[in-house]
Amino acid sequence: MSETGLGRAAPLIYALTAVIMVFLMLPLILPIVLSVSDTPFVTFPPRGFTLGWYAKVLDEPDFSSSFRFSVMLSASAAIGAMLLGTPTAIGLVRLSFPGKAIVQGLVLSPLIFPTLVTGIALLRLFSSLGSQDAYLNLVIGHVLVTTPYVVRTVSASLVTVDPGLEEAARTLGADRFTAFWRVTRPQIMPGLIAGALFAFVTSFDNYAVSMWLFDASHVPLPMMMISLISRMFDPGIAAIASLMIFFSLFMVLLLERLAGLRRAMSF
């Protein structure tokens, strides 16, 4: 890009950009800075240096059990969303039939529908049905809100693949599933990986559905974090926040490496 891309206002735009980036990054950097403070309370500026809070937090059974529970829940949700969303993407991209727009609208609607309300509707449903298995309820809710992301990401990948190749495999005698698995699947692998990772992350961060459906023995990490914020005032809480930031950073790098961040976001 030539230097004329931004015109003469370039210095001003760069300066504003720098300030905005600080604004964007500050709440992610500060918890890390405060988590190593050798003080009994979260205070700024931090004093001293200790990794003791991390040790304390990792020993905290509430935190580690919530983390394990969230990983299990999000993995289940991602698997469910892939199983449901991949055929959906194939159907929507490769078939044409009356009412396709309605199916597409239905499947993508949770993206624009307030997730908080989706959670309320699910709570209403589960309590009407008397379904008290919190884990099952949470998985159903998380599959519902993550499937649209899988459909969107996998569809975006599928439209770039020539259907003629799969057609050729069919002509040569492969059945539908084999043709998909051996011909199309390898080509859309980055889309599938991005879809699965994105479903996992979306579920891992979800609170809007979880807050209605969790119970005392099934506490996803965001719900645990909310309760810790109101009852934990030492830098341990900053250490927990930092650990979650590091985990997200790891997921960002994984997404960028395996699928490309922009592709994963479908922009």
Partner: protein, 312 residues
């Protein structure tokens, strides 16, 4: 997959593939059902029906003994619109969402311009830095803002202000804390569509405007801004509807002083157990989100139609 029997020759299939969209054959029914049947069933059972039931609930009324009226009534909606406390919550929600959307617009343009028009390496770096926070839990980001905005000398902002000799501010648990947090959390949803829109503008158009003597502001106002409006519309729609239906940010940054619909509905359902009233609040949240989205779609549609007429 294009749907044909294996005995068909390759050539027509290839031609069909090249023709673009999927084949319109008589045999779409079975694979269609197999591919899309489960998802439609799942979404109808755990999304369409529950939301329908919830909306129906909002037209019932809970009597003092906890039982429900049998006849439909608008009582919950009237209560929401007429009781000062609840009407205030509704107005606060709309006000905070509007301020957040406006602020996010102002902050998003410089970023989108640099990503779309600046050096490639910088654009990539900023893109990653803008997207990355999206993957950080909202609770964690709200916690970050609590550290910054904390009232009293321990808050980072107050520490910085006293450093400059300025008085302490009490921002946490105010509307502004919620706006600041929401802008930071939802800014990426504005930057990404805006970047895509600006990226679609041919830089030559801007160069031409400059060559013809336009200063930077004029080029932005007369060329870049109007041509980026579709992206801006998409961004505003996302930011407004996400802010209007958020819970964590008003709960952790607004506290009991700044209540929004998200915190009110949580209180009514999980603490007061007034399901019908809670369902009515939830329905209003849906109406707000849908109105914004439909308005945006209608605008886009009208624009496309105008363009089509012009072309014809």
């Amino acid at each position: 997959m294009t749907l044909s029997t294996p005995s068909e020759p390759i050539a027509p299939a290839m031609m069909q593939a090249r023709a673009g969209a999927a084949g319109k054959r008589s045999s779409t029914l079975l694979p269609g059902l197999m591919l899309l049947g489960p998802v439609v069933l799942f979404f109808v059972l755990v999304f369409v029906i529950p939301v329908g039931l919830m909306v129906r609930y909002s037209f019932l009324k809970q009597l003092p003994d906890g039982s429900l009226t049998t006849l439909p009534t608008l009582a919950n909606y009237i209560r929401l619109a007429t009781v000062d406390l609840y009407r205030g919550v509704m107005l606060t929600t709309l006000r905070i969402s509007l301020f957040t959307t406006i602020s996010a617009t102002l902050l998003a343009y410089p970023l989108a311009l640099v990503i779309a028009r600046g050096p490639v390496w910088l654009g990539r770096l900023i893109t990653v830095l803008v997207i990355a926070p999206l993957l950080v839990n909202v609770v964690v980001r709200a916690y970050g803002w609590r550290i910054i905005l904390a009232n009293g000398p321990n808050g980072v902002l107050n520490w910085a202000l006293s450093f400059l000799g300025l008085g302490p501010v009490e921002l946490l648990y105010s509307d502004w804390a919620v706006v600041i947090g929401s802008v930071q959390v939802f800014l990426p949803m504005m930057v990404l569509p805006l970047t895509a829109a600006i990226g679609r503008i041919d830089p030559a158009v801007e160069d031409a405007a400059r060559t013809l003597g336009g200063d930077s502001l004029a080029v932005f106002r007369r060329v870049t801004l109007p041509l980026s409006l579709p992206g801006l519309g998409a961004g505003c729609t996302l930011v407004f509807s996400l802010t209007a239906s958020s819970f964590i940010l008003p709960s952790l940054l607004g506290g009991s002083f700044t209540k929004m619909l998200g915190t009110l509905v949580e209180e009514q359902i999980l603490t007061v157990f007034d399901w019908p009233f809670g369902a009515a609040i939830a329905t209003v949240m849906v109406v707000i989100a849908m109105t914004i989205n439909l308005a945006y779609m209608a605008l886009i549609e009208r624009k496309t139609r105008t363009r089509a007429t012009e072309a014809a």
